[in-house]
């Protein structure tokens, strides 16, 4: 999948494509365009957050993530939900690409490479369980803000910027440990599990 995406490079093979002028910032000025990008992303986030929170389809996702077999017995079709979630993922990646493209006059096939692991990190730091069934979009958003803010904070504190990745890693480890500790203290008997 990651490797396959690399194949997209074939289409352009490292060459930049000049887009028509109207594509940049959706044909608006840069200041207006920036607002459109920001508000568009935030609006989508709010919509999806509300959707996963209150829509039946949104709750299906939690149900399947929590226990696919129980969900199936409750009349949900886990396969359909999985299919829908991955299709939505593709659509969102496309939307992100549009927001990315309008910011510069060139299209780079390598755009977003290496982002997948960063995104997983943000989601995990935001308290979404990797085993599924727990977490929220707003949590993931907070996790994202936390990781993104490291670099400006370092500059502000006059710490060398090379520490950014190390601190990012430490935050992920601390967040994961804290989450498990929280669950352990709540449930008296921890489950015997090597892997989740």
């Amino acid at each position: 999948m990651v490797a396959l995406r690399q194949g997209l490079n074939l289409v352009q093979q490292g060459e930049f494509v000049n887009l028509p002028e109207r594509v940049q910032w959706f044909g608006f000025s840069q200041s207006a365009g920036q607002w459109i990008v920001l508000l568009g992303a935030l609006g989508l986030l709010a919509t999806l957050a509300a959707g996963t929170r209150w829509l039946t389809a949104g709750r299906y996702v939690y149900a399947v993530g929590s226990d696919a077999e129980a969900a199936r017995l409750a009349g949900i079709r886990p396969r359909m939900v999985t299919f829908g979630v991955f299709a939505l993922m593709g659509a969102l990646a496309g939307f992100a690409a549009v927001l990315n493209i309008v910011q510069s006059p060139q299209v780079q096939p390598l755009a977003g490479s290496g982002l997948e692991l960063k995104v997983i990190a943000a989601v995990v730091v935001g308290g979404v369980a990797i085993s599924g069934g727990r977490g929220s979009l707003w949590g993931a958003f907070v996790g994202l803000l936390l990781l993104v803010c490291i670099s400006p904070a370092l500059i502000h504190l006059h710490v060398e910027a090379y520490w950014e990745k190390a601190i990012q890693g430490a935050i992920i480890l601390i967040a994961a440990t804290a989450e498990v500790m929280r669950i352990r203290t709540r449930n008296a008997r921890p489950p015997v599990r090597a892997n989740a």
Binding site: M1, V2, A3, L4, R5, Q6, G7, N9, L10, Q13, G14, A68, E69, R72, L73, G114, L117, I120, A121, V124, I130, S131, E160, Y162, W163, E164, K165, A166, I167, Q168, G169, A170, I171, I172, L173, A176, T177, V180, P190, V192, R193, A194, N195, A196
Partner: protein, 356 residues
Amino acid sequence: MSSWTKSFRGNWRRFLIRYEMLLLLVLVAEWLAFYYFGTSTNRRGMVVGFGTLDRQFDILRHSCEIGLLALALTPVILTAGIDLSVGSLLGLSAVVFGALWHDAGWPVWLAAFATLFAGGVAGGLNAVLIARLKLPPLIVTLGTYSLFRGVAEALTRGAVTYTDFPVGFLFLGQERGWGLPMQAWIFLGVAASVWTLVHRTMVGRTLRVIGFSPEGAHYAGLAVTRTLTLAYVMAGVIAALAALIYTARLGQAKADAGTGYELFAITAVVLGGTSIFGGRGTVTGTLLGVAVIAVMKNGLATLPIVIRWNAAEESAGLLTGALLIFALALAAAPKFLSARRARPHFSAVTPIPKSP
């Protein structure tokens, strides 16, 4: 007598339709394709084919590091775990080695052993969090993936490159000995050790049992924590070894060494037939997976431009991805088909295996 023949025939058939045989066929097919269609110019400017010994050695030299990482990942993935941090650890180990040799003035052999030890310690960090605290391997190694690379960058301030290693050390990555590139001997040695560990020892069995069911392994009295720890520490040490070979091959140690290698290694392991859900897989398959990817990557560059569309690197990525999806689909097909055929009509209480 007849029963013996029958069982022998059964074994023979089982041997023939094994997944590894299919992979071997793919490997031979792609090698032959490159042999017939591929050309390149050698050092003296002569046009030579793909079949030269030089090129085979070139493929071998370039696949050693990712091959080592894939070998390190095989036991880990057998336990249904994952280690995303091996590529970053390769970078960190390379930097540690360079710093110990260049800045601290240690002799090369001592710096090398210290690097292997440091790799073990870094793997130990993964091991403690995963085996002791029972955190999900994906998250832990995602964290250390950032952490190791970050420490490497902080140590070198993102700029320092260690070079001018002694000739005796570079020999390890650039010269031939006993008919093969030097690092190939190390690679083969590690491959043989990992194969023995996974397929011929109690530890290997335990790895698989943990992959199928950690709870079951626990109740069966197996040393789950200790075995998991061994797998992750071993991954760290092998990553450090890969860092030494990488440094010797390129003659320089830099913080960005091995960026993205973890995904290549995982691809090779999964292509080699090891289940990402744990419990199933072979070291032989991993080796074949590494070979298929390495030959494809190297071979595509020798094809005429028309055949390989545009860029060899990207075509290799595309084909590897397609091959991987094909392999996964192939592995899932029998299960899927049998489920289709034999789906009971009143299956309300049929337990399905817990999805990993």
